[in-house]
Structure formats: structure tokens, C-alpha cells
Assembly symmetry: C2
Homo-oligomer: 457 residues x 2
Amino acid sequence: MTQYKYLLEEDQMPTHWYNILPDMKTPPPPYRHPVTLDLMAPGDLAPVFPQPLIEQEMSPERWIEIPDEVRDVLKMWRPSPLYRAVRWEKALDTPARIYYKWEGVSPPGSHKPNTAVAQAYYGKQEGLEGFATETGAGQWGSALAFATQFFNMKCKVFMVTISFHQKPYRRVMMETWGSDVVPSPSSETNAGRSILEVDPETTGSLGIAISEAIEYAVTHDGWKYSLGSVVNFVMLHQTVVGLEARQQMEMAGDYPDILVGCVGGGSNFAGLFLPFVKDKLDGSKPDMRVINVESTACPSLTRGLYAYDWGDTAKTGPVAKMHTVGHDFIPAPVHAGGLRYHGMAPIICSLMDDGFVEAAAYNQLEIMAAAHSFARAEGHIVAPETAHALKATYDEAIACRESGESKVILFNCSGHGHFDLAAYDAYHRDELVDYELSEKALQEALAKLPEVPPLKE
Amino acid sequence: MTQYKYLLEEDQMPTHWYNILPDMKTPPPPYRHPVTLDLMAPGDLAPVFPQPLIEQEMSPERWIEIPDEVRDVLKMWRPSPLYRAVRWEKALDTPARIYYKWEGVSPPGSHKPNTAVAQAYYGKQEGLEGFATETGAGQWGSALAFATQFFNMKCKVFMVTISFHQKPYRRVMMETWGSDVVPSPSSETNAGRSILEVDPETTGSLGIAISEAIEYAVTHDGWKYSLGSVVNFVMLHQTVVGLEARQQMEMAGDYPDILVGCVGGGSNFAGLFLPFVKDKLDGSKPDMRVINVESTACPSLTRGLYAYDWGDTAKTGPVAKMHTVGHDFIPAPVHAGGLRYHGMAPIICSLMDDGFVEAAAYNQLEIMAAAHSFARAEGHIVAPETAHALKATYDEAIACRESGESKVILFNCSGHGHFDLAAYDAYHRDELVDYELSEKALQEALAKLPEVPPLKE
């Protein structure tokens, strides 16, 4: 009989994270200071992040040991299963062999706790009392709420006001795990109050929520800020996904010709592909394709610039060289809230600039059609973010049907959609709208990128 | 390091269901006809259920082979993991060793598809076009919607009106898997229309929804009715849970002193305990305790009668000897909608009457406190139904702390609570109400049990 799942035992979980920085052809250029735009000094990040994470951010070590205490929490759901999508292949009548890594088995429902647990561990090691963070749709906030409770840390989540009211179950999940969740903008920070003064009825934005979380962290003793994507140490922590998948693909006797994943800030997909891209960087797998799939509503890789930009709207975080649609660009309210970030992980951007990975963008009508097809065949109802990976996989599988090639496609099935069924409902009722991206709005946002001075010799 | 999960490979999934009927000291007495109250003739059930299921309902075979096509669908998530609740043990400071079988990993989120898949297979074998069924909170309807799509069958779900409006995500889930979901009472059946005529604003009830589903099934060519609990063949299909758990407990090197599960109609817990109770019936494990945990809002085992009663409010289904609070008893609207059934699986009732299993009842304040404690320690947010098993486990674990005994407790963690977070929210806000069961209402309902004539010689 066909085998569907490839499982690993707990003792087969990776003992080390894979750090791609020493293997990159062009490592990401250094961060710049948000105000002076000069090189950031090593101490500049210290008020914001725990020290071990700052060290990991620029570590030259290829393998970094995962602390036992972190592995002990990850074991609650890891190693996650790798599936062969036998029924979907049949439904698509494709000779392609489709595999997916299923990260929806974590209690918060996505890959996000892979880094949240590590950050909570290092925060506790440093003696922190709590972490402040922002969340949009709630996946990241849930993951940090989940993680901090295991290390007896507090967690303060600034949740974008519109989501706070539209997704009450995500809020309740965070509260169940002991976090304090407030709608953002809130009256608890200067950033929040100044917005509320101008517009008391605002629905909020991720940019504002980030500003509030950073302000809360740096103005409270014993608190720091936690971030769920974009930066190097988050990509590092997510490599457990790809390291497990390598072992599981070996069990299946296959190696991916094509890797696919959705990207907002880049964390889930980089987690999967970095341990494979290693083989492309060293020349052993030159033809493997790596497809980063973004939303047409926020197309930083496909229509943005590769340039220095601030990571947040209020310009309080580091300036990084990345693909960006501009730090004050407001994407349309697509269901895939996790893909509405204006920038992209610098590691992914540099790999793309060097030609090792590629990008595609899809709108929410086509991604929900793919999600529906997958749910009918494989049973899993995935998050709208994840559905972007399904659509690119779908297209590659259909291309195989037409060419007759039996390519091996592996995608990251990054999270379930139990809190996103409104998107499925809209799709069934033909009420799902697509959003055109205004070229004028994009150009206006791109005109506001900083002019970064060249590095001094 | 501590091991948390005990996993089985797909080829370790049981090949046969365990049928307890031939091993019982007192098999359940035969069904009676809903109108005449005489013994049901073998053909009486034929318009309602597929023939292979009717045969399984009274099979004398101890082991019944699971068809390959059924195992092939179950493999999408089975074998399910067995967990050692290491962190909860520590939080409760108990010497007890607590294990749980985690059925929340199925795409519909509970143990329910274990029988839904089998029923869909046999329905398709018989050439049926579709199944009609009822659902309250939506767990069973989701499971049947999920199962029927894999066998290209249609599925019509009568969903209790109040849940239809309060739990739209469960409805969308069923629609995603291709089912037609209507609020009950509906205008599509005589049963529904007659209720709506009297009270157009009614919120509906499970009893009415059952009547509509049966009527729909028997009045449509190629359609039959599907039931998610109570009857023997459902208990049979659920034994995959306990058969897997036996293997996994062996891997862990332990054998349960106490088995715990929540019971509404009895399907999840019987699925776990029947393969273990076998050892009690044959005398090899005389001291093992088996605790059926129900809601104080619907206490059929702890305050009902062991007597013949109709399975549905409209008195159209078979009359079975079971613990019951009366076929027209309306339980309080507790969050654990799945425990609001007035009767109980005849197999469980007979085992209890013979002293092999016992029962306990808890109210929704105490079960949600246990669920909260579990979520903080183990990360999993469980359904309110499942939380009843947690509360009994909690009490046994505390008793071990006081007595110093290291008992082994195994409970069935039957489903996740992603669609039940309103219950957690109410608990956090101290807005959760308990419901007193009126002794007068209970006695009135019990006065309506049928007078069943003795069997003719």
C-alpha cells in the first residue's frame, strides 16, 4: 500500500540549527542605524533583543547547537510529519511527485513556535521578565504566547485593532496561554496615543503595532522585543523544518527538483529551503528550483526594489537591505494577513539577487481555488498564507502533466486554516474579491526609501 | 531526555477492529421496534443503515477485518500519537504517570472520522448516492463531510439552528468538504415543517435534527442515514484508538491502572477502552478502573435509568436498553454540545451494569478549569467534551499525590477546541455559568419511557 506519511522519532530531531551565512556567496549587507543610517554598532541592538540572538544574527558558525531546553519544548510536536500528497497528485492527474512538510501540527497551528520557543529560552536565560510583540492575524502572537509560558515569562501582544475584533478566537488562544493582549493602537504607548489622538476610530496596522511593541519593550525594565520573521536568527531557528525534511525525503527515496513556500517576511519557507539550498550553493544540485511565493497585494520580491529600507513604519527598527515595497506601503486587506509585510528576509533577498532562488506572486482568488482543491483531495484545510504555496505547486504539477515530466515538488504546508474559514466561505459564495495594486501607490511608497551613505573605508 | 510521544508507523495500524460482543458477560439486549415495541426484525433497519453495518451491529465475530480502502483513508492521520503528559504531571506535582491518546490530529479535529470513513466506505459499496445526518456543535457533521468526499458520496447535514448561526466555521468546514448543510428545523422535511409551523423562531434541537435526517434518508432513493455514536458498529470502528494505544503503552512499558474518557453517546471512550476491557473480562486485569465521564447537565449514567428508551425525540429510531435521562429531556446549553445526548451506548451500559466500568459527572466550571490547567502545561487546547476526561484525570492525579501512589492513567484526548474558544473566553472572564439539573424535569422525562413487553418465548 502507498505510504502517506514519513515520521521521525523524537531522537531524530536535529541537534543543531543550520546557519547559512558562512555558505552564502554574498552575505546580507550589514544593518544601518534607523536615525543616522550609519553602520549599526554591536550595542545598538542590545536594548531590543537578547544578546545570544544578536550573536546568532551575525554568527560565522555553520552549525549552532539547539539547547536541550529548546528541543524539549519542540518535542511536544516535532519532528513534524512529511506527507506524500498521493490523492492530490491523482486529482491533478500529474506525473509529479508532490511532498509537503506539515507544520500545522504545532499547538498554535503553524511553524511560528520554532523560533518563538528559542527566543523565549534565550530571553529567560538573560533574566528577562517578558517579551513584547505585535501580531496581525494572530499566528505569531499565538506562537510567542505559547512559548513564553513554558519559560515562565510574561508576554504582551499588541494586536492590530481590526484583527482583535474580527479574530477573537486568536485572542482567546493567546490569553489561554497567559498573554496580555491589547488592541493596537493602544493608550499604553506614546506611539499608540499619538495615532489615537488623530484618529480614534483607526483600525490599526502592523507597522503601528511594531512601533508600540518596541516602545513597550525599551521602556520597561526586564522586557525586550520579539520578532517572528525577517531577521537572520529567525531563519536560523526555522531550519529545523528543512533539516527534518531532508531526512524524510531520504526515507521516501526522493530529492526535490522544486521547492515551494509562501513568503511574507520569509520565515517558513527559508526554514524549509535553506538546508537544501546548501546543496545548490556548493554546486551539487545546480538545477534545483526554489520558488518564493508572495501575494500580489504585497509583491516585494516581484515588483519591489532591492534597497535599504526601514523594517517598520515608525522607522524605529534597523534599516536593512531587502526587497521592499516601502516601509509605509499599506497592502490591501487580503485574507493572508501574514503576507502583508512590506519587506523580506535579507537572506532570501541576497540569495535571489545571486540567482539561487526565484519568486512568483498570486492573487487571492487563485490561491483559494488551490486551497479548495487541496482540501478536497488531502483533507487539510490550510491557512490563506499557505495557500500561496499550494497555488505555485499546483501550477508546477500541471506543467508536469503537460510535459510528462515526473518532477519532485516539496512545499512547506506552514499552517492550518481553522481560524481563517471566513476566506473559504467567501470563496464558496463567490464573494472573494481581488485587489489591484495601484502602481501610483507603489511608486509613492518606493520614493520614500532612505538614501543610505556608502560604508566608510 | 524524556520521551513525550509514542508513534506508530502506518503499517502498525490495526488490520482488524475488535468486536467486544462475543466477550461480554451480558451482551446488550436486542433492539425493539419504535412503534410496536416488539423485537426488531432483521429487515427493519435496512431502510436506515447499509447492510454490512447492520451485520456488524450484531456480529458474533471477535475480529472484523478493516477494508484496505478504509485503512487507506485512516492513514491520512492515523496511527495517532500517544503522549506522556510529562509537563502536566509536574504541574500537578503528582507521582501518577499520565498518558493521553491524541485524536485531535485528524483533519476534522476529533476521533469521529474513525467511524465516518468506514460508514462512507460501506455506503459506497452498497451503491448509495449519499448519507443524511444530524450535527449539533459540528464535530460529527464535519467528520462525515470529510469521509464521504473520499468515496464520491453526497452528504446532507441537518445542523441544529442555534449552532448553525453560532458556529459558522464548522458549517464552512463541512461545505469545504462538499456537504450541503441546512439549519434544522428546515423546510425540507415534514418533521421540520411541522415544528416551524408551531414555532418559526425555534433554535432547534438534536432530537429534531435526527428526525429530519432519518426522514430525508428514507424518503430519498439511494440515500441512507449515518450515525456517529451509540450503536455497536460505531463502537467497533472506534476500537482502532484502543488497539493503537495498547501497542503504544507497550512501547512506553506501562499498562493503565485507570482509563478515563468523556461520554456523550460513548464513541470516543469505548473506542479507547474496549480493547483494554477485554483484559478485565477475561480476568487478567481485574483491578483496572474504567471511568466514563459525563456532564452533570445530561447525567444518563449517574442519574438516569437503565431501561428501554427511544434513541430520538420523534421516536422514529430503534428502542434500546440503555442508561437514559429520557428521549425528550432537553439538557442545558453547556459548551460540551457533544455530551448532550439523552442516552448512552448499550455496550457501555451493559458493561456498567455488570460492574466492569464506572461513571462520574462534572459541571462545566470544573471541567474548564482542568482544560485551562492542561493547556498551560501541555499546550493543547481541547474541546469542552474532552475537558470532562481531563477533570477526572486531574482528580485521580491529585488523589495519587495525596496517597503517594504512582498509578498509570490513560485518557482519550478526543478532540481539539479550535472552534470552542468561546468557552475558554467565558472561563477567563468568570462568565461561565453552571446549570442546575432540575430533579422535576428529570423525573418528568423519565416518566415517558416506553413500557416494553417481555420477549416471547
